[in-house]
Amino acid sequence: MVDVVSTQTKTTLRFATAILRRLGEELNPTMDQGVLELVKNSYDADALSCMVSLRNVDQAGGTLEIVDDGIGMVPDDIVDGWLVLGASEKELQTVTALGRIPTGSKGLGRLACLRMGERVELVTRPNKRPTEQFGLELVWKQFDQADTVEQVPLVIAHQKRSPKATQGTRIAVHDLKRPVTRPEVERLARAMILLSDPFGTKTHGFRSVLDAPEFKDLSALVEKRYFEQADYHVHATASAGEASVGIVDWRGKELHSADHKTVARKRKGTLYEAPDFEFDLWVFLLSAESFSTKTAKLPDVRAWLKQFGGVHIYENDLRVPPYGNPGNDWLELNVLRARSPEERPSTNTSIGRVRFEGKPKCLVQKTDRSGYIESTAFTEVKALLQDVLDWTARIRLQEAEKHRGTERGAAPKTTRKSKKKLDDALKQVPPKARAQVEEAIEAFEKARDKEVDTLKREVQLYRSLSTAGITAATFAHESAGNQIKALTMALKLIESKGKRELADRYETTLQQPVSIARRYTESLPVLGSATLRLLEGAKRRVGRVDVHDALLSVLALLQPFIAGREITVETKFAKGAPYLNGTEAAIESILSNLLTNSMSALERGGTKERKIEIRTALHPGKIILEVLDNGPGIEGLEPSEIWLPGYTTKVGGTGLGLTIVRDATRDLGGEVAVEERGELGGATLRIELPILGA
């Protein structure tokens, strides 16, 4: 028998020192995130206050210091806690002596913060051992020189504590590798202020302070608490998957409320798979009118909202970033507001808070602290809140509609009241002058009635034209789409079959009629397409409009109709690319109506060799657009009357085209003018518009 001698080599997994960089710096890329992790450590250590100071940080080599008055650490806490990276969250679920639920820091943010400098100094005075303090120094260069993390020995120094020294922990990060910029300090200040729910009424006994002027300014701002200046306050709760919501006014009086069935109507009342939470949103109507009755000033509230607006999330009374950070609109308030600006809040007009009691198990924060993992639970929280916001918007819109209806109904009543007042006042006028005053009033009333009549007619005409546009756009496809498609396909089939069956004879027999039919077919979709293009929503957005581009696009759109009337259009544009702040729709309204006006005039006058010229000229701060034609000029109307609604010499015309030109020009801050017989013989219509540049 042979003896088998077994040997063993014991080993462990080891980590290269580069892992420290990866774990810390790459997972927690910003300075404020790292510092916040240390502040949260202080919270977990039952500290009542935590002070962060930055010294000489405007250049590399400065010091960052975090001092708290928490329970401190004994050597075992340092070895098994502070120096352990990536600890399991399960170990952190025990409630602290002050009843706090630990925030669950895994130590990676701490590592990132500590590595901001060349050397870290930790001094901690535990409440468990009132006469001792413990110190530890980390010198990163030693790690850089070693191959593995374990090769660098760390020593915890045991020292006697001075009797005056109270419990707590001080961490100093020395020789910072780079300067800390002002925006970074501002971001840190904001994050620290928002960290421990400064909006609630509850006192939670933890205050973190940054020793920097930026912090003082922001602290002062946050203390102002303009909540009572809100126009309305939405309060919602989620409990066992059921939502309930209410709107209260600025005095806290309930205006509306809804139960789960109403809020969740889109999902037919099914329960939300979300943890329990409370939601508050304070919404401000930032207008001079709304603020005329308030005690706060509009610019102050605006500045406050700019800094702290948005919907923040608090878990266990500590904020979960980045929700509510500048640029983080996780509830999509801004997009929804843009879609329905009247009754929707934005991140600049509201401030809100979602508060989870304790630490919901179904919501897990990402390792890099960039919010929650997008789990079903988190998606459902969002869905519930968006349903609450939808309900709120519906209610507010209904209210606004009702209000408008009341105003419309109240108008004649108000007029009657005013008339009675006037009659009473007239009685006070001496009899001699009264007749004269009565006559003047009668003349004024007649003029006003005429104006009201004109406006009514104008509104009715606009409504009719809108209906015509809507009808054309809705039925553009049915009215011609199928027919054009079928004709196009049929002609292509005739062409290919014809060529095959007739060979050379196709050219002399079918080619001409097929090509004529094809040309007419191609012109058919133009009206439908043009109508749809004119109604494109984006054209009504206010923004930069390149005037020449917009003019050319209108011209291209109407080209088939212009060509169909055998009109030659010449463009003589000024050099440059003038632009203004307005809507493309306004420029489109101006030129398309001017061109339509010229086309009608040329048809009416039976002009041969029909010509239209579109000219632009640039002057400081303005563009002059002229549309000239060689038609009969203005006949049968005074030049000033052509801009009035309903005035037309065209049979069946609406008389609105040039009114729209005038209104669109005025909307852009410009002026209109007309020359009855211009350079080409027909009318010249001149539009002057302010521009921003060219």
């Binding site: 843009a338 329905s340 496809h477 498609k485 396909m489 292509k492 290919s496 494109e536």
Partner: protein, 222 residues
């Protein structure tokens, strides 16, 4: 008869709510010596239509607007994309307006052949069926080949009462042309990050010549 990689396409389903157009599509199909199956509808669901077509034909041609009358409860883009999933060569033929693109774009990756009526002839039909069959084997013609591409958000449109949309620029495709995408087409994680000048990656067929032929998938952070 059109041969696609050794298999003959013998029967082609023709789906259009207009009987005249159905007849004309059928004449094209018959020009290629294939049998046209004129689908008279009505179809209550896209699944029912797919089942009907798969059971009867080797390929399909569909119009886009199928819902105007009571012919179908879905549009042609949904149908062609569903047939693509079942690896049945299909063509979407339509005289679409720009507004229709919003409805077509989400399905565009699964619509290898989008033809306008004036582009339709025996050659384009045969070629379209072939390029579909190629894609089913993971081979792409140049205009359909997917590439990971950097995309810049140019503008956000949030018109009242309308689905929000974004204008995007694809510098590696054409830096002068903006492409409009509905926000609902984009993954939810992007919604809060949609600001002008934000950059993302997506897989796009940047060999496409026309904006309406572009498809977007697999969005990721830049």
């Amino acid at each position: 008869m059109v041969q696609v990689h050794g298999s003959a396409i013998e029967r082609v389903s023709v789906i259009d709510d207009d009987p005249g157009s159905r007849e004309l599509y059928s004449l094209y199909v018959e020009e290629l010596s294939m049998q046209a199956l004129r689908e008279n509808g009505p179809f209550t669901s896209v699944e029912a239509c797919v089942e009907r077509v798969l059971g009867a034909a080797h390929a399909a041609i569909s119009d886009f607007k199928l819902k105007v009358k009571t012919y179908a409860s879905f549009n042609g883009a949904e149908l062609v994309a569903s047939l693509y999933d079942k690896k049945l060569p299909s063509i979407l033929c339509t005289r679409f307006e720009f507004a229709d693109l919003d409805e077509i774009r989400p399905y565009r990756q699964r619509i290898p052949a989008l033809l306008r009526p004036d582009e339709l002839d025996v050659d384009t039909i045969a070629h379209a069926f072939e390029s579909c069959a190629l894609e089913f084997r993971n081979e792409f013609v140049q205009t359909r080949k997917p590439w990971k591409t950097l995309i810049r958000i140019e503008d956000i449109h949030a018109d009242p009462g309308r689905e929000a949309a974004v204008d995007v620029c694809l510098p590696s495709w054409n830096r002068n042309v903006m492409v409009k995408l509905q926000r609902s087409e984009l993954p939810e994680w992007m919604h809060a990050k949609l600001v002008a000048d934000a950059h993302f990656y997506a897989v796009v067929n940047i060999g496409a010549e026309r904006p309406e032929d572009l498809y977007f998938s697999k969005w990721s952070e830049s």
